[in-house]
């Protein structure tokens, strides 16, 4: 009986429930401010690796990010923005994740390797024109699930690596888990790059399927 009411409740739910739509739109300005202020902070020391042992593999050593990508005006201004907005980013993400789990929405959104790998590969084949037709999709296809789940993962790692470089003494165990302060700084910047790549891909696909924007605004049909 319990499962059938849960089933009914799921069927009454819109494609994009209000909680998910709200978290999605709130996330955008928060991520933009975090990225821009983060790049302004990076500009103060636009190098990777400790002093005297900078990493040789990093191609942009001592190249500051372009000023049009930065927010906050100067180092202190950007730090205040970064450490203020971070709380709201984490809060929004926490509410989203709790909702995802409590509502059961995660089942149709999170990438489950056993269920979704073949579908994701088939979708990739379709995008690469190896396959003529897209694989069947159940709400999301495997590639979508993989992309959205990766974005959540990047979000979790960007927060943890941020804490590692924010408090490397008081939260030394987080810093140590990343392999030290300067490695955590690399991870933090890498997550930004990955999130930016995700966003670029997301925007491209949304542009190809503009109706998804309407769904993310109105919630779409029930069931």
């Amino acid at each position: 009986m319990g499962s059938s009411t849960a089933e009914n409740r799921r069927k009454e739910r819109r494609a994009q429930p209000a909680a998910i739509r709200l978290a999605h739109w709130i996330n955008i300005p928060l991520l933009v401010i975090m990225a821009g202020s983060g790049l302004q902070i990076l500009a103060a020391y636009p190098a990777l690796g400790p002093r005297g042992a900078q990493y040789g593999w990093y191609p942009f050593q001592n190249d500051a990010p372009p000023s049009w990508l930065r927010i906050g005006g100067w180092l202190a201004g950007a730090r205040h923005l970064h450490f203020a907005i971070a709380w709201f980013l984490i809060l929004n993400a926490a509410i989203y994740l709790i909702y995802l789990v409590a509502s059961g929405e995660w089942r149709r959104r999170i990438f489950i390797p056993r269920r979704d790998t073949a579908n994701a590969l088939a979708m990739l084949g379709y995008y690469l024109r190896v396959r003529k037709t897209p694989p069947p999709e159940d709400f999301y296809n495997g590639a979508q699930r993989l992309a959205y789940t990766s974005a959540i993962l990047f979000g979790v790692v960007v927060v943890l690596s941020g804490l590692a470089i924010y408090k490397p003494v008081q939260l030394y165990w987080i810093t140590a888990a990343f392999g030290g302060y300067d490695v955590a700084r690399v991870v933090h910047l890498s997550c930004l790059v990955l999130l930016a790549l995700f966003t670029a891909m997301h925007l491209m696909l949304v542009a190809l399927h503009p109706r998804t924007i309407v769904t993310m605004l109105t919630g779409g049909q029930r069931g």
Binding site: L42, Y45, R51, G52, A76, G77, A84, Y172
Partner: protein, 230 residues
């Protein structure tokens, strides 16, 4: 010479600066000032008076030539011939210490990773005397919740919360990597601690004052966070 930011960037950030000093009533700056107070509260909760910063292996020591040294004077500040450290404020025995007196006190030596507000890190060994030993000697009052550090580097100064000041790894350092401090790193005496960002660790010390109130700092007064815990 080398400093945290250039004058041009400073002017660019002037609006944000005055805003964060609390003399601006625009909602955005009030929001940021409020969040800074919130972050300080969290920082103080995170701070442990007994947790020691991990000591990196000696293989991670930064070559001294690669360890940046910042000061605000136009040229490297040199100590006056009759240099002494004055310790005062809310203390029962205001005192003056010579470098020799400080060196005769129990020495603390620690290998520590330095964290600069700019984002770089570097490792060195620092030798000196624990500030809490000095506080005990001069009889610092319980009402002294803050400690102010002054220097002969063009008036550079900072102030700390008492808990961070009395941390066992907060020292008045006269040695770096086993030799006497060089003038570019704050000779003859500098504050050093792993629990604060670099700009809180005042070089070229002249005065240590135990105070009932916080008294700002050179970068703090321009908008950098005051607590700056690491």
């Amino acid at each position: 010479m080398a400093s945290l930011i250039t004058r041009r960037k400073l002017l660019l950030g002037l609006a944000a600066t005055t805003a964060l000093a609390g003399c601006d009533s625009r909602p955005a700056s009030m929001f940021l000032a409020g969040m800074e107070r919130w972050n300080e509260r969290v920082d103080r909760l995170l701070f442990s008076p007994t947790r020691l910063a991990p000591q990196p292996p000696s293989s991670e020591l930064t070559p001294e030539a690669a360890f940046p040294s910042y000061f605000i004077s136009d040229t490297i500040p040199f100590a006056p011939d009759n240099w002494m450290l004055m310790v005062g404020g809310l203390v029962t025995r205001p005192s003056v210490f010579s470098l020799e007196q400080l060196k005769r006190m129990p020495q603390t030596s620690m290998r520590i990773r330095h964290h600069c507000v700019e984002g770089w890190s570097a490792v060195a060994e620092w030798q000196g005397v624990q500030l809490r030993e000095i506080a005990r000697m001069v009889g610092a009052s319980r009402d002294a919740q803050y400690v102010e550090f002054r220097s002969f580097d063009a008036g550079y100064f900072s102030s700390w919360d008492i808990e961070s000041s009395l941390h066992p790894q907060t020292i008045l350092a006269y040695g770096m990597n086993g030799h006497a401090l060089y003038p570019d790193h704050g000779a003859p005496l500098r504050l050093y601690s792993p629990v604060k960002l670099g700009y809180k660790n005042v070089k070229y010390l002249t005065e240590v004052n135990f105070l009932p109130h916080r008294s700002g700092g050179y970068w703090e007064d321009q908008g950098y966070d005051w607590y700056a815990g690491v």
